[in-house]
Symmetry: C2
Subunit: 138 residues, 2 copies
DNA sequence: TCATAATAGTTGCATATCTAACCACTGGAG
DNA sequence: CTCCAGTGGTTAGATATGCAACTATTATGA
């Protein structure tokens, strides 16, 4: 019905991809947003919370809630910056570091599978375009 | 950070597009999901609720909530099917029919603007690919 | 120096979404 | 005809997300 609508088709695709990554991250007891947030923290330990929000392209308030969840699971720690007492530095715990490789591998496996399903060229091209369009909308 | 990830880039783009359509539908006091649901009802009055959910690619439970909202705003009506008392037929009210053209025009205007911004070819190609990928994931 | 503006993070409130469990009804198989 | 499986819709519970308003802290400028 909304065949030519970028909003409709992008949001519908996002929901389907969410289901795919839900399965991939289930073994770690992490939802997709939690999994990606943790991966970001693991990739760049010590980021400020606001920088983390920027990396993930989410609102600061959403980062607050996401980190609350990861903290409750014992996967990340907030440390008040001594330089500026408003800021929080986010670091992964040992438990998080332990699953780092498996978590990244799980995501890579899904990516590889989908890439094969659609053709690597098409797949990469689509992702690039999504990124380019998002950049122009900023 | 997740430059090559279809999940990350698609969901991030979806959030940005949501913001764009939020602005476009604000004059009607409708959120993007509400606006699209209403447009679907206006395009095909008398659809069963489950058919509507299929059209919009959302879960039945989500359709229930969305329709609750539109009904509360006096924009749609549920009618129990006489043939099968479980089913509900969804029809727009007069108030909804009144804004139909303006609502569709508002969405079309955004689409046109974005299409111009990215180039009509690229834009249409991206939407087609999103649809094709979603279809393969089903 | 001190008042004001800006910034980091949190909280409150609203919305959308899903899965699972449930209810009411329908339709077949015995 | 009756019971049971399947189906349409709702409800319960969980998560993610955003904006706006708030608190605490820092920076600026008169």
């Amino acid at each position: 019905m909304f065949d030519r609508c970028i909003y409709f088709n992008t949001t519908a695709l996002a929901r389907q991809l969410d289901r795919v990554w839900t399965v991939a991250f289930a073994p770690f007891d992490l939802t997709p947003p939690q999994g990606f947030m943790l991966r970001a923290v693991l990739a760049r330990p010590g980021l400020l919370q606001s920088e983390l929000a920027d990396e993930l392209k989410i609102a600061r308030a959403t980062a607050t809630r996401g980190l609350d969840g990861l903290e409750a699971k014992g996967l990340v720690v907030r440390t008040k910056s001594s330089r500026d007492k408003r800021e929080s530095l986010i670091t992964p715990t040992a438990a998080a570091v332990e699953i780092k490789d498996a978590l990244n591998a799980a995501s890579a496996a899904v990516t590889k599978r989908l890439s094969g399903l659609f053709g690597a060229e098409v797949f990469a091209g689509f992702v690039d375009q999504a990124k380019a369009i998002a950049a122009k909308l900023e």
